[in-house]
Symmetry: C2
Subunit: 450 residues, 2 copies
Amino acid sequence: MAVYRQPVEEDIVDSVKVGLIGFGTIGTGVVRILTENAAWLARRAGVPIRLKTIVDIDLERDRGVPVEGITLTHDIGDILGDPEIRIVIELVGGIEPASTILLDAMSANKDVVTANKALLAAKGPELFQAAVEAGVDIGFEASVAGGIPIVRCIKEGLAGDRIRSISGIINGTSNYVLSTMTEQGRGFSEALKQAQELGYAEADPSLDIDGHDTAHKLSVLVGLAYGMSVRPGEIFTEGIREITDMDIAHAGELGYRIKLLALSKRQQGTLEVRVHPTMISARHPLASVGEAYNAIYVMGEATGPVMFYGQGAGMMPTASAVASDLIEISRNLRLGIRRRMPPLGFYGDFLQEAAVKKMEDLCTKYYIRFPVEDRPGVLSKIAGVLGDNGISLHSVIQHGRSGSGPVHIIMLTHEARERSLQQALSKINGMQEVLGKSLSIRIEDALNPF
Amino acid sequence: MAVYRQPVEEDIVDSVKVGLIGFGTIGTGVVRILTENAAWLARRAGVPIRLKTIVDIDLERDRGVPVEGITLTHDIGDILGDPEIRIVIELVGGIEPASTILLDAMSANKDVVTANKALLAAKGPELFQAAVEAGVDIGFEASVAGGIPIVRCIKEGLAGDRIRSISGIINGTSNYVLSTMTEQGRGFSEALKQAQELGYAEADPSLDIDGHDTAHKLSVLVGLAYGMSVRPGEIFTEGIREITDMDIAHAGELGYRIKLLALSKRQQGTLEVRVHPTMISARHPLASVGEAYNAIYVMGEATGPVMFYGQGAGMMPTASAVASDLIEISRNLRLGIRRRMPPLGFYGDFLQEAAVKKMEDLCTKYYIRFPVEDRPGVLSKIAGVLGDNGISLHSVIQHGRSGSGPVHIIMLTHEARERSLQQALSKINGMQEVLGKSLSIRIEDALNPF
């Protein structure tokens, strides 16, 4: 059989040397992949990729990966000041010193790779601007949805299409908790405890459970999909703490699943961006995304629906995403190319100001649960307040009391304005017959109703 | 708010001019996307992409898309001989003249884009070799799974990882037929007729239904994932004609779904490649891929499972894939870059000979249905032959007779060798008590058992 061979070329570099700052879990995965897959990566990149230097505070701990031939140091200057090192991988996390490290590396004319979604959400526009001004590449495939190559999918694979909406399960911890509640009938605290025991949730889980991590990633996705800048503070963010096993069960009876979704929708001149628990049809592809898996459902004008599914976190999936960035940059370096691809895949004004739609102007259907006294007239009183606010009901469920405590009235509304709903709820929550705070969950019926 | 802007550069080209050969359905979609999305594409590509010339036999028919300012001609020379045209899109289909068109275009120093999976399966290695020798780019995102950017996902997104296996639903027609049988309880012929009425199946559906189209696409995926050359003739290919509503129902009772899968698995030095109806767990993400949707489930060593889901065919999804190739090539052309990315994403020997595992050496579990006479002793006789061939049974189902005709014995085996199974089946099919050909369906229990 014939051998098919790319002609030998005059390469500008005979290897690409890399510096790693941050030798934690992901860093260890990167070292492993660069070592174990060295020959494979060279075949993909066209040039060997060699890890020359690692910077970390803790150089004593054995990470179980080979570090022979790699310089281990506490001094970032050993990377930033080394002209041989062409790519700097930042896996420090957090805003500072990560931000300064990246800016200094770019000033030193080095391409950079980061997995730091919190930083990109906070300072992405400034970092991207610094990259284009320095004429260097910035890779951040690992910052959203770990092993799912969603950054490249939007920037390159779907580049010819205009994206209408994105609906993403992009926080593994929350998805694990909700999936466990759904499949094993557990309560929130119990499911969270289980997630913590299995390492899916941190000791302080608030960044994940309260939706902030999801909002960080959504901010990055919105930049990629629309070339629009939305800071996390502009994204309405609601977590999953209030969801009870009762809500999960009711959702199931109604043919829905509850998922923590990152949602963005482009509409006439405005952009809807929001993060909150959402009821979606049990038949929707996102509904069956279980455990700690991530999935991003993209609706393109031409392409229609496309979904990307995989592990959103973990040492090796995230390290693999870092490696894909190293390969892309190395493919450029070996040919002496830079600035081929702008950070977000847009030329010219690559980030425009987004006209974010006010949350109070949202129009959607709601599931609402009211814990109330079990006595006549309560239901009609609640329905009356909703009606006064222009909210009409699709259906009402009231189960008989089982044991002591409040009974729960469940209502599904027709499409209503968020503003009207909040006004009605504030009034209803103040009623004497209402024994606790009501809970409302937004419903996405036609997930992408365009 | 700040405006984030890529600095103005000295572009080598101020627009990229494109020629289109083949003004059929996909071609019409390409014209629409290049027209309607022109400003968007320019923002993504960094340079306007302008369709200059269209070649087709039929220039009279109104396709409902604007062609003002575009030269319409019967003469391919008007594209191949036009030095202004930098990219040639081949949407003619079939082997010839498509192959000659692509080779001539590359000889004329033009980058090419094609959606032609039959051609790539038959002559991909030669076309890729011609591309690298001519120093031009060849884009073929549209050749596999239409709107799903699977080519880039493997070549770039997962480039840092080694892919263990691919399991794909990559023929919309077959998936529509099987999904309709499953969800509506219809027979094969009835479901196929429905697919034909809805435009999901051709008048002659054999290319789709018999698995050949799936094998063509698998051949392309194997090249991308492993850098290995496998011709369709080397891929064991079995279609879905023999599947009955009874098998679908039994699969459901057993917790399985039947899907036509393209399978490839890398194992110690060999490559398993096969296309056949497959029973997979009803809980597997591929199981819920309904209608004419496609999905590709990739198992990476580091990344773990990743799945890509979307529309595998249709005018606009496929046109969007063509547009993504135009953007990639234009991003190169505007900077005067060529050969940045080898056709399959591998440098050096980009296609190696695959040691394809012999089908008879396959080891898997089987579902087998035997139509038999309803009399004592038949079951034990069949089980005896299986046992003589070293095939042990996991379970047996025999429903009572309902009406005339044969009764059906269903058996699930433990892992067995294909060779042994075929020997046993050939003996059993010859038995007097067996009233028709038995049907066997391979089971993938742990879909990616590595």
